[in-house]
Structures are given as structure tokens and as C-alpha cells.
Symmetry: C2
């Protein structure tokens, strides 16, 4: 039986590859017609060529560039196998990255949901929290008046060295006690939540990976203002003392931006929370 020849239009129909793409494949030498009519310049392809298009399609599908496909066409089966193994590890890396993005998105979404769930401002409330792994840095002499970004920058840089993800959220830790003036209130740590379970190496001596424990917290949230900060803290403090609540003597403070426009006015919600024992 004579082997059938197909016009470029027929090949396009049979293979779902556009005529334009077939012409381009011819041009770059990836897939050439078996015969070109010298009079009409029409391209003709023979039946036994088709499987080369399958290979091109499949390699394209797994993300191999046309240039690499052209190189792969010269491979022996053993070479193709080792090429596929390489591709497998490329795909694995990409999937790991996607997985981390997914984790990061999930945690960021959770943070946003928690922020939106704060429906009482300026009033004490209770909530249950899951544990949160944080990267913290020791501080001294910092007060709510002003926290230089250099602290956060060093946290961020540590995470970036590790190729870890940023959580876009920061917080501070200070001792739970009576304060009569904001000047007395000194942060012991600033921190950022970790959004992967990676082991962080390259910690400087003042850095630490800690956990904010899971449990029931007594909290207060308010729009950040240095002038009202102390009053808000005192509301929380007096509530705890009046009700004789047994608490861990640590206050966790979380900043949450209320808008994201670099041109608008920066507004933050602050949530202060103390863990019940």
C-alpha cells in the first residue's frame, strides 16, 4: 500500500496544530514536510512523520522549549530518558515552590480573616488561637511611640536568605504588668510570623524561633495612635486584674494594616492579646 501524503491543512486538522504553527515548525527545522511541490510551494507530509508531532506536543506540554525539543530530537532513547529525569526534578522544584505559595496564600488569607473577624474595637474580648511559629529579635528601649524598620528589615533579610516567605505581618512582645506611662513600656522582642515549617538557620545571636502558644486569649483591638495606646492597654490590664484572670505574663501585640495604598494615610489596627492559663 502506498503511504498517503497529507497537505498542511489536512495535517492541521488531524493533529489540532494550526497551519501557522506547522509553517513555523518547518521554518525553524523542528518538523519539515517530506515533500514541497517546486511549482506551488505546497507542503506535503507523509503518514510516518506524524509521531514526531506527538513528541513535540508532549515535550512542549511538560514545559520544554522548542529549542530544547530540537536538541532532544537527536537523542538516543537512553539520552531521552536521562533528559526526562532532569525534567522531572525541574517539575518537582516548581511544584515545591507552588506548594509554598499555596501555604503562604492560605496563611495570609487566614490572617486577613482573623483581622476581619475583629468586630469589637476598644473593648475587651476573648478568642481561641492556634499556635503560631514566629521569628523574633531581641530589642531594648523600644516603645510604642516608634519602632524603626531596621528591626523588621533584619527579620525579613534572615527569612530571605533562607528563601522563606514573608508573612506581611509584624508584632511585638512586652511584659504583662502595670504601666503608668508609655515610656515605661519597653518591647522585649519584635517578631514576624513564619508561614512555612522550614528550619531557619543563619540566625543572628539576638534572633530566635519561638512559638506563640495555642489557647484562649483575652484581647483588645484599636486603631493605632500613640496617644491612646496606654489607655487601651490599661483597659485590658484592668479587666484582667478585676476579673482575677490567671494569665501568662506576656503581651503579644499584632499590627494589621487597614489600607494598602502607599499614597493614602497609613492606618493600622493593633491587637493586644494575653494568654489565659
Amino acid at each position: 500500500m502506498e503511504e498517503k501524503h497529507y497537505s498542511i491543512g489536512e495535517v492541521s486538522k488531524l493533529t489540532n496544530i494550526s497551519i501557522q504553527t506547522l509553517r513555523y515548525y518547518d521554518q525553524i527545522g523542528l518538523f519539515k514536510p517530506s515533500y514541497v511541490d517546486p511549482k506551488t510551494n505546497y507542503r506535503y507530509y507523509k503518514d510516518s512523520q506524524f509521531y514526531h508531532l506527538d513528541i513535540i506536543k508532549s515535550l512542549k506540554y511538560i514545559g520544554v522549549s522548542l529549542e530544547e525539543i530540537k536538541a532532544a530530537q537527536q537523542f538516543t532513547p537512553a539520552e531521552l530518558l536521562s533528559f526526562l529525569k532532569q525534567q522531572e526534578s525541574v517539575i518537582e522544584q516548581q511544584m515545591n515552590r507552588m506548594y509554598e505559595i499555596q501555604q503562604s496564600l492560605y496563611k495570609t488569607k487566614r490572617q486577613m480573616e482573623e483581622q476581619l473577624a475583629i468586630d469589637v474595637m476598644d473593648t475587651v474580648y476573648f478568642k481561641n488561637e492556634e499556635s503560631v511559629r514566629i521569628l523574633s529579635i531581641k530589642t531594648n528601649e523600644l516603645t510604642p511611640y516608634y519602632i524603626p524598620n531596621t528591626y523588621y528589615s533584619s527579620l525579613i533579610k534572615t527569612l530571605e536568605v533562607e528563601n522563606s516567605l514573608l508573612s506581611n505581618r509584624y508584632g511585638c512582645i512586652f511584659p504583662y504588668q502595670q504601666y503608668d506611662s508609655l515610656d515605661e513600656l519597653h518591647y522585649s522582642h519584635v517578631f514576624t510570623p513564619l508561614i512555612t515549617d522550614r528550619y531557619i538557620t543563619h540566625l543572628t545571636t539576638d534572633m530566635d524561633v519561638k512559638t506563640i502558644p495555642a489557647g484562649r486569649y483575652v484581647c483588645i483591638a484599636f486603631i493605632f495612635e500613640p496617644d491612646t495606646y496606654l489607655t487601651q492597654y490599661q483597659k485590658l490590664y484592668h479587666y484582667i486584674e478585676e476579673h482575677q484572670l490567671q494569665v501568662l505574663p506576656v503581651v503579644y501585640e499584632i499590627f494589621m494594616p487597614l489600607n494598602y495604598s502607599p499614597n493614602g494615610e497609613d492606618q493600622f489596627i493593633v491587637e493586644l492579646k494575653v494568654k489565659l492559663l
Copy 2:
């Protein structure tokens, strides 16, 4: 305490973002300095701006374009949350696609490994096989002399309609019996292995999803040539008859390309296999 101002170089150092990128962010209005010295044109950024860079970094990390980030800067927290949910489903789709690519790669690699494991040509051998899901199409009057690609094309098109993956491998099925001439040997089906577990809809009446059963097979492999095909088949047939092996009366034929160059000579290994009962 006065809020500190940082030069573009200091911001770059603190945030690991290049000066060039910071200038570009200024240019497109994504992140502008809080102050530009009118004499020197130097850019100065204030401390409280930094967290906007974190948001930009994080959104960029999850694959959001700079244009979309600019739009997101105008979002309220609730809008940002619903945007993150959308991103989540984009990522999920991408991950599903990657997973299928991984599956496809794995199966293609396995196929190559099996092909390379054939170390005896022209001689009967045994091997254990896992079950293989195939998409098959009924044929008639086809012999090993010549199989028009139209059959394979309809298999491929069915799979492509389903967005399923191609396996780059084809085969035929014919009855196990004595043949004295190649003209007597008619394929009952041609097929392509399925490399995902997807349910295939849109089957034409002559198509079917079948399984090549797992088990021990008696096989022969050879370089495809119409002239020697019958002799090779007869070697397998006589071996089975002489040794009185109990077999399923079906022969599976698999084509495997030996080279991938569209310009070289096409060479295929054919493996014929019959399942032991």
C-alpha cells in the same frame, strides 16, 4: 522621636530590592519616595512606608502582576481577602496542571525504561507487567504492512478534547492464532495508553477504554520491518505452542521509536506480547 528617612541605597540594602527596581516602582507609581530633594532629585523614603514593599514582594511572589498589585493597593482588607481567594484557585489550577505533567513524565519515563530494559532482540522472553489503561479504536482490514495515522489521529483528538495527555506510544491488538501470511493478520484495535486516570467522555461508537491486564507475559521484540514481521510472530507462536503455555488468545503489539529525529530514518522496535493464564 523623629521618623528616620532613608536614601534609595539604604532602602535597597534594607529590603534586598535593587535600586533599579525601586526607581521603576517609583516611575509606575507603585511605590513612591515620601520626599524628593528638588535640588539633587535624590529620593528619600520614610520608615512607615516599608511595609508597602513587603506587600508588593508577597503579591509578586504569589504570581500577581505589578499592574494587579497597583490595583490591589486600593483594596479594603475585605477586598484583599476575596482577591487572595481568587489567587488561591488560580494556584490550585496551576498545581493540578503540574501534577498531571508530573504523572505524564513519570509514565513516559517508565515507558522508556521498559523499552531500554529489552535486552534480547529476536528471541522469546518473559516479563511481568502492571495493568495499563488504554483508549482503543476498532479497526478492520488493517495489517502490519501499513497503518494510516488517521486512526491514531482520532485517538489523539479524543484525548485532546478531554485535555488529557498523550502518551506518545501506540499499539495494536490482534487475535492469537496461526498465521501463514501477513495478509491474514488483521488488527482488531489500535490503541494508545492513557497516562491519567481521568474519565474519558465523548467516545465515538468505535472507541473504548480498556485495560491490558497485569500479569506475566511471553514476548518477542524486534526492529520493525514488514518483511520479517511474520517470521518474528511465528517464533513467538511456536514457542508458546511447543511449550504448551496457556495464554489469553490476544496479542498486544507496542511500537517504540528508536530515534526522534524527523530527518533521520524512522526506526521502531516492536514488542509483541501474550499474557500467560
